[in-house]
Each structure stands twice: as C-alpha cells, then as structure tokens.
C-alpha cells in the first residue's frame, strides 16, 4: 500500500543534557520525515550526525526535547507499537550468558509467542542468519559478526512490520554484508518496512529506496535515491557509430543521421560524491540545507530556511 505512512518524525529535536540539565550536544534539530509502508528508508550521515539519535527517538528509547515521533500511528513511547517492530541496535546488546537459542527463546517469550512457535522461529532464524553451527554456544564467545547476526535474528523474532536497523552491516565481512543486504531486500519483498541507518554509502545505495542525509543533526537532503543521484542540468547521450563530421551539430544529426540512440538522460553521480559535497557545503555554511547545483529541482529550493522542516516527497 503506497502512501501509507508507518513512521513519522515531526520537528524532532533532541538536546542531550548532563545531570544538571546543562546543554551538552544539539544532536538533532527539527527533523521531519515520513517513511511509507513497504519501503527501505536509509538515514545517511557521517559519524555523530544524529542517525542513532533519530532511531532511538523513533523507538522511544530517548524522549524528544521537542517535536513528535510516531510509529504505526502511535507515539514512540507507547509500548503497544513494540508488538510490530524489530530493532537491531548499533552493537548487539545481548545477554552474554545465554546461547543463541536461549537468546531467541527469551525474546520470543517477551512477545507471548507459544513454545512450539518459538522453537520453530528460532530454528528458522538461526538458519537464516547462518549460525546453525553455533546455536548452542554462549553469546559471550561470539565474534562481533556473529553477535551481529544473532542481533538481527532477535529483531525478527516477532515477524515485525517495521524493522529498525542501526548500522546493520557494521562488523560484518564482505560476504556477511552481502547476505545482510539480501536479507534487507528480502524483507522488503515480504512487504516489511525497513528503516536503517548507515555511514556506509554503498549499503544505502544498494538497498534503500529513499534516504535522508543528516549532518550535524540537520537534514541536508531527502528523497528517492535515484532522484538524488541525478544531475539535473546535464544530459548524457551515448551514441554508437556517430560519424566524426556530425559531432558539431549533434542534436540535429541524431535526428537525421540515422544513428542509434543508445540512452539519453541525466548522468548519475555516485552517492559518495553527493555525500562529500553535502558535507563540504554544510561545513562551509552550517545550518543551511544542501543547495545542489541544479535547476528546477524541487527539493533544493528551501535551502534558506533555518531548519529543514518540510520534506518534499519526490
């Protein structure tokens, strides 16, 4: 169901304070975004840009200084929403004295899942994340990558509707990374919604439908990955067998020369380029939304606002 909003942030602001209530960090400033059902949404940004803070606010682990966080139409602090969500934290925070099987059994109990069903699902998930050989071993003996896998399995124990993944590929080897990405795409295929964050551009570019790029707690760019990577004021034309003489009058020649038009459109940059540009721009003009060097782009016009309040859905 397109258009069905499952996660929403409205002017979400978070200031970390110390014990005395003194301001320590302005971690997130007036973030607004929506995630629709069935999409893979990526939060992208350098370290310390507020990605984890955003996810924790959406999960109710942190309380916003102002603004609202809604998940499945409920306030983020409402426990009832937890029935339908899964969360893989930044690092796998698990009970070290339990084995993989016991871990999944324990989390399954928190959902009131019946014993038989718990058994079935944990066997299935352990298989899926590739830990069958270690299912009886204690989590404290696991390597980081293995802990990551069991962390993912625990996030999926309730077959959630919305999955929040904080740096899902961190600590995984290249094969593990590939498997994780496949798994995420698989979740989408099953109709799940995924909200993930990462500082790894390749991850995001490969799997996400839409992204929000954060820098120093501010939303810098927001939209479909394909749109964001388009360079609007360039047109790329790839032509095979074009005669030398026709090069000067290329447009006319294409029409008249009988050459094959192979492709025509805006060339795409890599996400890495975009990202680096945003960071550079943002450091030069803090507090301003990224202004791409393109014309007619719908999402770049509100750059003068102090905060990137209104997302423009592409």
């Amino acid at each position: 169901m397109a258009g069905d909003v499952v996660v929403e942030a409205r002017n979400l602001t978070k200031i970390y304070r110390d014990f005395w209530g003194r301001k320590k960090v302005d971690a997130l400033r007036s973030l607004s975004l929506t995630v629709e059902r069935g999409e893979i949404f990526g939060l992208l940004g350098p370290n310390g840009s507020g990605k984890t803070t955003t996810i924790k606010l959406l999960l109710g682990l942190l309380f916003p200084t102002s603004g609202d966080a809604l998940v499945l139409g409920k306030n983020a602090t409402d426990v009832a929403k937890n029935e339908l969500i899964g969360y893989l934290p930044e690092e796998s925070y698990l009970y070290k004295f339990l084995s993989a099987e016991e871990t999944l059994d324990f989390y399954g109990r928190l959902f009131n899942i019946s014993r038989a069903e718990r058994k079935r699902r944990s066997a299935e998930l352990i298989e899926q994340v590739g830990l069958s050989h270690a299912r009886k071993r204690l989590v404290k003996e696991y390597s980081k990558g293995m802990a990551r896998r069991i962390g993912l399995a625990q996030a999926l124990i309730n077959d959630p509707e919305v999955v929040f993944l904080d740096e899902p590929t961190s600590g995984l080897d290249p094969i593990g990374t590939r498997e994780m990405k496949d798994l995420i795409i698989d979740l989408k295929a099953k109709g799940k919604t995924v909200v993930m964050c990462s500082h790894l551009l390749a991850d995001v570019q490969d799997v996400c439908d839409r992204v929000a790029i954060l820098h120093q707690g501010e939303l810098k760019e927001y939209g479909r990955v394909s749109d964001l990577l388009k360079i609007q004021d360039l047109t790329e034309v790839r032509i095979r067998g074009l005669s030398e003489s026709a090069k000067a009058e290329i447009e006319r020649i294409i029409a008249t020369d009988g050459a094959t038009l192979e492709s025509m459109g805006h060339p795409t940059t890599t996400l890495e380029d975009l990202f680096l540009r945003i960071v550079r721009e943002s450091e030069a003009h803090p507090g301003r939304r990224y202004l791409p060097e393109r014309k007619g782009g719908s999402s770049g016009t509100d750059g003068d606002r102090k905060t990137a309040a209104s997302p423009s859905s592409n």
């Binding site: 924790k56 426990v79 937890n82 934290p89 925070y93 698990l94 989390y107 959902f111 009131n112």
Partner: protein, 551 residues
C-alpha cells in the same frame, strides 16, 4: 521471653486499616515527590532555554504554557501508568520470562557460590559455644541468624542493586524495552526472579543452620527446649478493660509498688501482705477439652529488700515463694491453689489439672508469700500452654522474617536502581534498611523527643563533648542549630513516615525462647512488608517509565 509490646489480633480491623493506610500514604508521598521534582525540572529547563534564546520576556510569557503542558503531560502519563499497573496480571508470561532470565543469570554467573562461603563460619563456631544450657539455643539461633544475615544481605544488595544499572550500562535494556514488555513487568519480573534465587539460598542456609543447631545442643536442651510452645496470654474479661490488674490493700490499680527499678515493664507486689496481681483469661473452652493436665509458664522478677536465705534446692524454706490461685469465674468453687518457688526472671513450669480451665473464663491471682521480698510481674508473665509445635517448624517460620527483609531490600534496591547507579543504589538501600531497623530512633528524632536537641544541636554537642542536658552557649552555632533544626526534624519525621519499622518483624526471639511464632504475627509481618513493597515497586516503575533507557 518478654513481650513488651501488645499486638492486636489480626481479626481486629484497626491494624489492617492502619497498614493499608500506610501503603497508600507511602505511595502518595513518593509519587507526588517524584512528579513534583520532574515537573519542576522540566519547566525550569525550558524556562532557561527560552531565556537564553529569546530573552527573559519571552521566557516569562512561555512560563505558564510550559507549566500547563508539563502538568497535562504528567496527568496523561499517570493515567497510562494506572492502566499498566492494573493490567499487570496480563503480563504474567512476560514477567516470568524476565524472572527466568534473572535466575539463569544468577546461576550462570555463579552467584550461588556464596553458599560455600556460608559454610565457613560453622567450621569454627563450635569453639565458641556456650555450655550453659539456658543460653545454648539463644546463642545458637542468634549466631545462625547473624551469619545468614551477614552473608545474605550483601549478596542481595549486590545482585539486586547492580542488575538494572548493568542492563543500562551494557545497553541490554535497549533490546528489552523495545519489546512489548512493560516497564512495570520488567521490574516485577526482576524482583520475582531474584526472590526465587534468594529463597533457594535461604532454604539451604536455613536447613544447614537448623542441622548445625541440632548437632550443637545437649540432650537436656533437646528434651526441654526443642519445642515451640503455643501460649495463651491473659485477655480482658467481657466487661472489663484490663486483662491484668494489681490489688493493693484490696484497691485495684494499674500498677503495683514501684521498687525503683529503671525498667518499668514489671510492677511489684510486696510479700506476705494482701497485695496481689490478677490476670483474666478468656479462651475457647474446647482448647483443653481432651487434656488431662495443663502446663502454665510463670516468669517473675524477685526484688529483695533483705538478704534472706539463698535459694537451696534441698531447703524448701529458702528462696522466694509465690502462690497462684486459678479460679473458674463461672463457678468459683472450681479452683486450685499452687505454691511454688520463684525462679528469678526465668520461667517456672507449673502443672495444673485441666478441669479448672474447662469454662474458658479464668481468674488467676498471684501473691508473694515470703515476707520482705517483692515480686515483679507483668501482663505476659503467665501463660497457659495450649499446644506444642515442633521446633523445626517454628525455625522455618522464623526464616519468614529473614525472607521478608530480603524482599524489602530487593524491592528497594531494584526500584532505586531504575534511576540511581549501582553504587549509589547500594548506599541508598543500606541507608533505608538501617532507618528501618532503627526506626524507633528515627521517630524519636522526628518528633523532637531526643535528648540534646535536633540533628545540628546534637552534632555540636558531639563535637564539643557537651553534656546533653545543658543549654547551648549563645552564639553563631546555637543560632544555626535553633534555626535549622526544626526543619531537619520535620524532614526526619517525614522520612520516618516513609520508611517502615523493620525492627518489629524480627521473630528470632520467639524461636530461641521456644515459643511458637503466632500466625497473626507472621501475617502481620507479611502485610507490613508486602504492603510496603507494592508502593515502592510502583514508585520505581514511575521513575523508570519517565527516564530514557538509552543514554
């Protein structure tokens, strides 16, 4: 054994009402205190923020809005909390999941090794044991209780106070609270899990202790004292207010003769005069229906005004003698008169025919027979022995008190640890526990009755080593003391209302003295502690709910 304090029967409503009121009062105090602080903090922070960003003017304009929204938010929060508290039973499986986790953690982290540590004192205890038969049980019971307490309490503190802070520190809490488990369920699950572990430890420790006591006492003690007597104490007759009265020259009086003893628990009657003390007994006549003879326990205190003859077992005229008249109040013809030599401050068992007790409405008159000597007596100095229970069973009942203390500590520690770090939680819990144990003192200070003035004044006296009854010299310190002490006293008073009196739940004295712990006393203790634990856990829940679980 001496009972100074009168416990009403559980069937009497006032105590239940009082206890129930006590929970509610505690609950309300804690909740309003916590909420007040939270709202104040929130409003203050917002005020300061607006001030720095928009100047004092806009901060002042914003103030009422901020107060209102804070209040509304709090009310909404409270409403949700009430629902979650009421819905607690629905989460039984999730609670059990958490409890199970706590048990697994304790077992796998080898917390139970503390049991081995527990055995150590017993290896050496035999060296120090008393040989006097009267003291054996008392010393042994208090020894095992002390050892159990000293091992259990640190273990409880460590396990219960560190658990939630550790969950927060290792962030495992983040995978828990993003599951459908409610925070109250989490807290309750933790407490239940720990209590399973501690109960197991108490059962093992109690068993070892009992076996140890059994192995250490002599044959004679086993024969005479290895029991739990069920006493019937005096009770007011149907139309009277007193169950125990003195008669001096035929005139009734609440107290007897003052012989100048500091401890006024007992009052005295003079020997070889018409002075007497009377007890009324009122009980179910069926109690002694099948008995032939009934034992009566008598403990009097001797106050000598002349040297007299020393008590010699071979000489019947030595020592101080007393007589007891048992009279059936429904049929004064049915009576029996017993004379016996008083064991100073120790129990004397008298054997009387059960027939004199058959109406269940008895008057007992006591007189001192020896001239120039006084006998001190009090309400609980005579009891009819209705029954005897096994010592072992009584010992187990005694363990309930320890268990309740552990429950108290666990709950306070778990509740406090939702907002304090582990170390501070330990300090806090120990503090609350000590205040509970020395509750009487707290109440005295809180009502300004202590000698030497309030806390500051007392501190000054302590430092300057000044006599407690002399007025302080005028000057700066005196002004400080006189200004702030009244407030401190008020605070102590408030604290004493929030902390329960733990000293009253101790039952070791019963076990050691060979008296059955009355069921109503056990029940009352359970109500007192459980009644306290419930609001404490709810307060812990409210604190937990309103904190961020990711730092």
């Amino acid at each position: 054994m001496i009972i100074e304090q009168e416990y009403p029967d559980l069937t009497q409503w006032p105590i239940l009402t009082a206890t129930a009121f006590y929970w509610v009062q505690t609950l309300l105090i804690l909740i309003f205190l916590g909420l007040g602080i939270a709202i104040f903090r929130e409003v203050l922070l917002r005020f300061l923020d607006t001030w720095t960003s928009g100047g004092i003017g806009s901060a002042l304009i914003d103030l009422p809005i901020s107060i209102l929204s804070s209040l509304l938010n709090t009310l909404r929060n409270l409403a949700v909390s009430v629902i979650e508290v009421l819905a607690l039973p629905l989460g039984i499986r999730r609670i059990w999941a958490i409890a199970r986790l706590s048990i697994q953690e304790a077992v796998r982290r080898r917390v139970l090794y503390v049991l081995l540590l527990f055995l150590v004192p017993f290896l050496f205890a035999g060296w120090y044991l008393p040989t006097a038969e009267e003291a054996q049980l008392r010393v042994l019971v208090s020894f095992t209780n002390t050892v159990m307490g000293w091992l259990l309490l640190p273990m409880v503190l460590f396990v219960a106070a560190m658990s939630i802070p550790k969950d927060l520190e290792t962030k495992t809490i983040q995978t828990i609270v993003t599951k459908p488990v409610r925070r109250l369920e989490f807290i309750v699950g933790r407490v239940i899990g720990f209590m399973f572990v501690f109960t197991f430890v108490i059962v093992i420790m109690g068993g070892v202790s009992l076996a140890f006591i059994y192995s250490q006492v002599t044959e004679k003690v086993l024969k005479d004292q290895w029991t739990a007597r069920v006493p019937i104490y005096s009770a007011p007759p149907e139309n009277g207010a007193y169950s125990f009265v003195f008669f001096k020259q035929g005139v009734p009086s609440a107290v007897g003769t003052n012989v100048g003893r500091e401890w006024t628990y007992r009052s005295h009657i003079e020997g070889d005069t018409s002075d007497e003390a009377r007890w009324f007994f009122h009980f179910d006549p069926k109690k002694f229906e099948n008995a032939d003879r009934v034992k009566v326990g008598v403990t009097f205190d001797i106050f000598k005004t002349t040297k007299g003859k020393p008590t010699l077992d071979t000489d019947d005229t030595s020592g101080v003698w007393a007589s007891l008249d048992f009279i059936d109040r429904n049929n004064p013809e049915n009576r029996i008169d017993e004379a016996f030599r008083v064991n100073n401050n120790r129990v004397t068992m008298i054997d009387i025919p059960a027939s004199v007790l058959k109406s269940g409405d008895i008057l007992v008159r006591a007189r001192c027979l020896t001239r120039n000597q006084y006998l001190g007596m009090a309400k609980h100095d005579i009891y009819l022995q209705a029954n005897e229970q096994p010592f072992e069973w009584n010992f187990a009942k005694g363990m309930v008190s320890l268990w309740l203390k552990v429950l108290f500590l666990t709950s306070v520690a778990v509740a406090a640890s939702t907002v304090l770090n582990g170390f501070v939680t330990v300090i806090f819990t120990v503090g609350v526990y000590c205040m509970g144990i020395f509750h009487n003192f707290l109440v005295q200070v809180g009502s300004g009755q202590t000698l030497g003035g309030g806390p500051i004044e007392s501190a000054i006296r302590l430092v300057s080593q000044m006599n407690q009854t002399v007025e302080l010299d005028p000057g700066f310190f005196r002004t400080v003391a006189k200004t702030f002490d009244p407030y401190l006293i008020k605070i102590v008073g408030a604290v004493s209302a929030v902390v329960p009196d733990l000293s009253t739940i101790d039952t070791a004295e019963y076990v050691a003295g060979g008296f059955d712990i009355p069921t109503w006393l056990t029940l009352r203790n359970i109500i007192l502690v459980v009644g306290y634990v419930i609001p404490v856990l709810i307060a812990g829940y409210l604190l937990f709910r309103n904190r961020e679980t990711a730092a």
